[in-house]
Symmetry: C2
Subunit: 411 residues, 2 copies
């Protein structure tokens, strides 16, 4: 008898009809001989409605009471889903985060799970009951209600699966799995059957917004088999698991595109120790996150220092640097919003040389100029002009044969 955790997001429980559809799916899973724990989000729109009430009182509201307010959203869903399960003849019992005792720290609005007491849930499962748990929320050691921040329901599901040593944690969403790239750009994009945690982390952080990053980290840490599936269609989705569970590993698993960044260069800085911290110190102090960083030393004893930030932080960052640059003896600050980052991701590249040069050549053959390069163990990213966004993704998807499931070696 397997233990399965199933998580349904806000769209999947958006109204009572959809909640009944979720109940049917859960009932099928239980009748197939599984112990089922369900984790649900607030009904879509509900969190925003509650936030609207709070903001009518205080537009910059944060803190303890916001969590008391927002946690009601999932509490409504757990009750309604249990009612729907009962109607389908499935005995079910609901739990708030506090009732399970999902213990978190006291960082209201963005708490982190510290421990889960799985005993009550396990007793219900052993007694043949489906347990329905409110995602996104917990309780601190003083009994205060906390929330995990947006998207935290995924983390609740994975943490419960870890605590219960569940066989699988299934995340139902509005997509039917993880794709080799965005199908809106490459119609031949293919749903991946399996992918490693590391690859998923690189894909998620690079713009494939299927799962909350923290939940994948959690799944990786506790080796929870995580499956992404569609709430609305049948299918086996994509299993995110350990490398050992993937027999034939492709070189490259996917191509991602990130349109959210902008590039900034501090040009002609005298090349001496402390340049990086001199430039990035004031940027970090303004709470701007920096992604790619490249430094080139020129022939004349000066250096160009280039990095990327989120487009929303671009103006602010340029303003900061225009003050700092003269003090450092730099020639000037220039930047460009109209860039994108394209990346290829795959654990297979660890054991294969030549992937980078093959990527660069494919882009160059079509006249795409590479402006920055950054590499990690399982990822290579390049920054190119925004106008090459789709072309760049298509070239790389094709170059590594991602449209062909049989083509594991991306020949």
């Amino acid at each position: 008898m397997s233990t399965i955790v199933q998580k349904f997001g806000g769209t999947s429980v958006g109204d009572t009809k959809r909640i009944e559809a979720v109940a049917e799916r859960v009932a099928r899973t239980q009748r197939a001989g599984n112990k089922v724990v369900v984790v649900v989000s607030a009904m879509s729109g509900e969190t925003d409605r509650l936030l609207g009430l709070a903001k009518a009182i205080d537009p910059r509201i944060t803190g303890r009471e916001l969590d008391v307010l927002l946690s009601t959203g999932e509490q409504v869903t757990i009750a309604l889903l249990c009612m729907a399960l009962a109607k389908h003849g499935v005995p079910a019992v609901s739990y708030t985060g506090a009732q399970v005792r999902i213990l978190t720290d006291s960082a209201f609005n963005k708490a982190r799970i510290e421990a889960i007491d799985e005993h009550r849930v396990r007793a219900d499962l052993d007694a043949g009951r489906v347990t329905v748990v409110a995602g996104f929320q917990g309780v601190d050691e003083n009994g205060n209600i906390t929330t995990l921040g947006r998207g935290g329901s995924d983390t609740t599901a994975v943490a419960l699966a870890a605590a219960l040593k569940a066989d699988e944690c299934q995340i139902y969403t509005d997509v039917d799995g993880v794709y080799t790239t965005d199908p809106r750009i490459v119609p031949e994009a293919r749903r991946l059957d399996r992918i490693t945690y590391e690859e998923m982390l690189e894909m998620a952080s690079l713009g494939a917004k299927v799962l909350q990053i923290r939940s994948v980290e959690f799944a990786s840490k506790y080796q929870v088999n995580l499956r992404v599936l569609s709430s609305f269609e049948e299918g086996t989705g994509t299993l995110i698991t350990t490398e050992e569970n993937i027999m034939e590993q492709a070189l490259i698993s996917g191509v991602t595109l990130n349109r959210d960044e902008a590039q900034i260069t501090v040009a002609g800085v005298p090349d001496r120790p402390g340049i990086a911290s001199g430039i990035l110190g004031p940027v970090a102090a303004a709470n701007v996150e920096v992604d790619m960083i490249v430094q080139n030393t020129g022939a004349d004893g000066t250096t160009d220092f280039t990095f990327t930030v989120h487009r929303n932080d671009y103006d602010r960052t340029v303003e900061i640097l225009e003050k700092v640059a003269p003090e450092m003896g730099a020639k000037g600050v220039r930047g460009d919003r109209k860039i994108v980052k394209i990346s290829i991701v795959g654990v297979g590249m660890r054991s294969h040389a030549g992937i980078a040069s093959r990527m660069f050549k494919a882009l160059a053959d079509d006249g795409i100029n590479i402006r920055m390069i950054s590499t990690s163990e399982i990822k290579i990213s390049v920054v190119v002009d925004e106008k090459y966004s789709e072309l760049g993704v298509r070239i790389l998807h094709s170059e590594f044969g991602l449209e062909d499931a049989a083509n594991l070696h991306n020949a």
Copy 2:
């Protein structure tokens, strides 16, 4: 330093503007040097919205999950009120019923409070914080969320006041106190400054729907000073307290009118033991509640047995009795929906004879025929034709001089 419990119902917290008005009032009470505990209901309409969601899934929903659902209504209000208090510079902390630990039995949807752990609330009050508690809800010994049934927020407030030995429990409503009678019938009706628990219980159960009966019973049992006030106007309202706290007690405190009953007579029943149970047994078995009961023995060895039921139960009850009557040898069943019950209430009548005859004479002088009479220690009720409703109330209000506050002896 006094401890005050203030309870605000759904209309008083109906939107965020009204919640801010409540916050101002609470802030004033605290700044006047009081320790303040606030009990709130769900925002008006919210409980019905939640019930609507539940009924879309199961029209006859009851049980555990309904309480999980409905309890979110007050949880939203406590959070919003704490936000509004914080904005007014008043430190405040919210508690759900489970967080206070308002321990109830496990009768979901209509639980009864068994104990209140007041320690956390008291610690907050001692630290200068206003505490805002969700009304209507509690938790059973197994950690399940329970609700007290409609109107239960009044009971929460009184129970908290008892546990904290508060100086006063103030119930804010949409009326500014308890009146000698319905001002829509008698424009001279006067707001009572003080009234005893017993009188209030008789007034409430007789149709003056200001307070939930259970909360008055609770206040009486624990000698909690209960004050009814308007949320929207200034004023001192009506204090409901022990007889000892009312120096000059009027003979009669009020006149009430109940339009919800119907009269049924089983005529010509052979007069022998077991008549009453023979008639009322089948009625009780059908869950029909009986109010007034009168039995008269006739000269011919038969008796007429008359009683009142709620108008909604009239048809059902007549149908039952038409089967039972022939078996008992009764001559027939007749009834009348078009009757009303008028009552006078006052602890003063305990020590004064002649109140009843004065009441009957006043009605007779104006040609009003009395069809039934029922008396208790502090109440006399008569049933009359519906057409005399307003006239009967006006005659009695005037007869006992209730329009004149100085006229304590109802001369």
